[in-house]
């Protein structure tokens, strides 16, 4: 716990711990092992994210977990300047497997971010919860 007298903002934005539930426990367990999973429907052959136990396209329950290769490209992004812990970048990254997923771009020069820039997966600790998938340029 920080001292009440400390007025300065924390240097690093705390990553809100993901709320794990029965449906997504396997995803967050895999995250502990550095594996990014997505849902894949064996009935209609569509990948989806965020992952569910059914397919949001055809509503089949023949869905399996698959591991993403961790490569993708920037679909869109915004550098947030209204932040007490300094700027951070929210983004949608298009995985090579197809789904566009909400994430942050980290550990890179925000001025070099551009749409379609290649990115790769990095994991960051959350504040007391499972690790969270982020991406960085390159």
């Amino acid at each position: 716990m920080s001292q009440p007298s400390e007025k300065k903002a924390p240097a690093v934005r705390k990553i809100f711990p993901p709320a794990v539930n029965e449906e997504t426990a396997k995803f967050w367990k895999a995250a502990e092992d550095g594996k990014l999973l997505y849902g894949f429907c064996l009935a209609c052959n569509e990948p989806h994210y965020y992952p569910r136990t059914f397919c949001p396209f055809c509503f089949s329950d023949k869905v399996e977990w698959r591991e993403a290769n961790g490569k993708g490209k920037v679909y869109s992004y915004s550098v947030m300047h209204r932040s007490p812990t300094g700027p951070y970048t929210i983004a949608y990254v298009e995985l090579q497997e197809g789904p566009r997923i909400l994430t942050n771009l980290v550990d890179c020069d925000f001025d070099k971010i551009a749409i379609d820039a290649p990115v790769s997966l990095v994991w960051k600790s959350s504040d007391g919860g499972a690790p969270v998938p982020f991406f960085t340029l390159g």
């Binding site: 993901p18 994210y49 965020y50 396209f57 915004s78 947030m80 929210i90 566009r100 997923i101 942050n104």
Partner: protein, 387 residues
């Protein structure tokens, strides 16, 4: 069955406050309800339908109905689509009236994000299925809408200057509104030079944060006939959700692309017929994308459409948000839907400020996006006609 011509907006009230440190949120709801009833020339016990959304404190419609003493209710609806809820509620009220379920519907919105604590966001969001996959990333309305702007600029060449024109137009209107939170006329340069909030959106690309609220009274044709106020007829209404679709995210359009055509078809008119447009303006990019999606210009041409004062009453082709909108006038409890309907009603009645009143304003649209353009939102379109 169509709702065209089956209901009338006969009462509209925008609370004059923008900072209400000494009032409670339920109190603001009640004051708005009293204002709308007085405007319509009706009394509390005439109300037999009540509509509210997530800003209404307590147990859906029950707490507010009990608090206000609405003892003759036979129809209730607390559909929540964020800031667009109240536009959607007019359509739902028209449906209920057309089906004989009520004849005098009250819709209220109120809250105090400026001086009070918290907004309508309840604990339910933490249990949402998307929460674990979104909350760690620091998403806010600012940076989520900003991602739409980034992508729009990439695909269509939209510029910050073009977006700025939307704020400029709103400010030209707000200067005539004594209640507007921001009354100063601003320039494109003022917008571009204001501090960056979430790239590419500047502070002046964002709406205001205000306390306050509003209320509407929607009635059956039989009730409307007995009232002394100008008659504003509901002729088209539609709604649509839009989301992230299992990862098939497309940030270049809003749910207006679905709700707009349905509402126009029901009304039997086209965007060219519209004399005045209330367009939800949480951010400048919100306006630009909705105008495209509603069909006021081609997809991707929104930047050119809004530039050079085209949205300024008396100057451009499509007068919009003549009260100053959420960008300058009022965005009570971070929800701008009800004020969109209220200013459209003023325009159709001929009761807007003379400096911004549209001549012969017989057809108006009110459209809103509630929630987040960058993740999931509820779109609602309402088309009204002066009778």
């Amino acid at each position: 069955m169509s709702i065209k011509g089956k209901a009338y907006v006969m009462g509209a009230f925008e609370h004059p406050t923008r900072e209400a440190p000494d009032k409670s949120t339920p109190q603001l709801h009640a004051e708005c309800a009293r204002g709308a009833l007085a405007d319509a020339g009706l009394s509390k016990d005439d109300i037999d339908g009540y509509f509210c959304a997530g800003d209404a404190p307590g147990f859906g419609a029950m707490s507010m109905a009990d608090y206000m003493g609405l003892k003759n209710l036979r129809h209730m609806d607390s559909t929540e689509t964020g800031g667009s809820s109240y536009i959607l509620h007019v359509g739902h009220a028209a449906e209920a009236i057309a089906a004989g379920k009520c004849s005098v519907a009250l819709i209220t919105l109120a809250g105090k994000p400026r001086t009070g604590s918290g907004g309508p966001r309840g604990g339910g969001f933490a249990a949402a299925p998307e929460a674990a996959f979104e909350m760690p990333y620091g998403g806010t309305t600012h940076n989520q809408y900003a991602m739409c702007a980034t992508r729009h600029m990439h695909e269509y060449g939209t510029t910050s200057e073009q977006l700025a024109w939307i704020k400029v137009a709103a400010s030209h209107h707000a200067q005539w509104n004594p209640h507007a939170f921001l009354k100063d006329v601003v320039t494109v340069e003022d917008v571009i030079n204001s501090p960056m909030i979430a790239t590419p959106l500047h502070r002046l690309d964002c709406c205001v944060v205000t306390d306050g609220g509003g209320a509407l009274i929607v009635t059956s044709p039989e009730v409307a006939k007995q009232l002394k106020r100008p008659k504003v007829k509901v002729i088209g209404a539609a709604e649509a959700p839009k989301g992230t679709y299992g990862g098939k995210v497309d940030l270049t359009f809003s749910g207006a692309a679905w709700s707009g055509p349905k509402a126009f078809a029901e009304a039997g008119i086209t965007p060219k017929d519209i004399k005045y447009a209330s367009i939800y303006d949480s951010f400048t990019i919100t306006v630009l994308m909705q105008l495209e999606d509603l069909g006021f210009c081609a997809k991707g041409a929104g930047g050119k459409f809004v530039a050079d004062g085209n949205l300024i009453s008396g100057v451009g082709k499509l007068p919009f948000n003549t009260d100053g909108g959420g960008l300058c006038n009022n965005h009570p409890t971070n929800r701008g839907g009800i004020t969109k309907v209220i200013e459209a009603v003023r325009q159709l009645r001929g009761e807007a400020h003379p400096k911004v009143q549209v001549a012969n304003c017989d057809l108006a649209i009110a459209h809103g996006t509630g929630g987040s353009l960058g993740t999931r939102h509820g779109a609602a379109t309402l088309i009204m006609e002066r009778e």
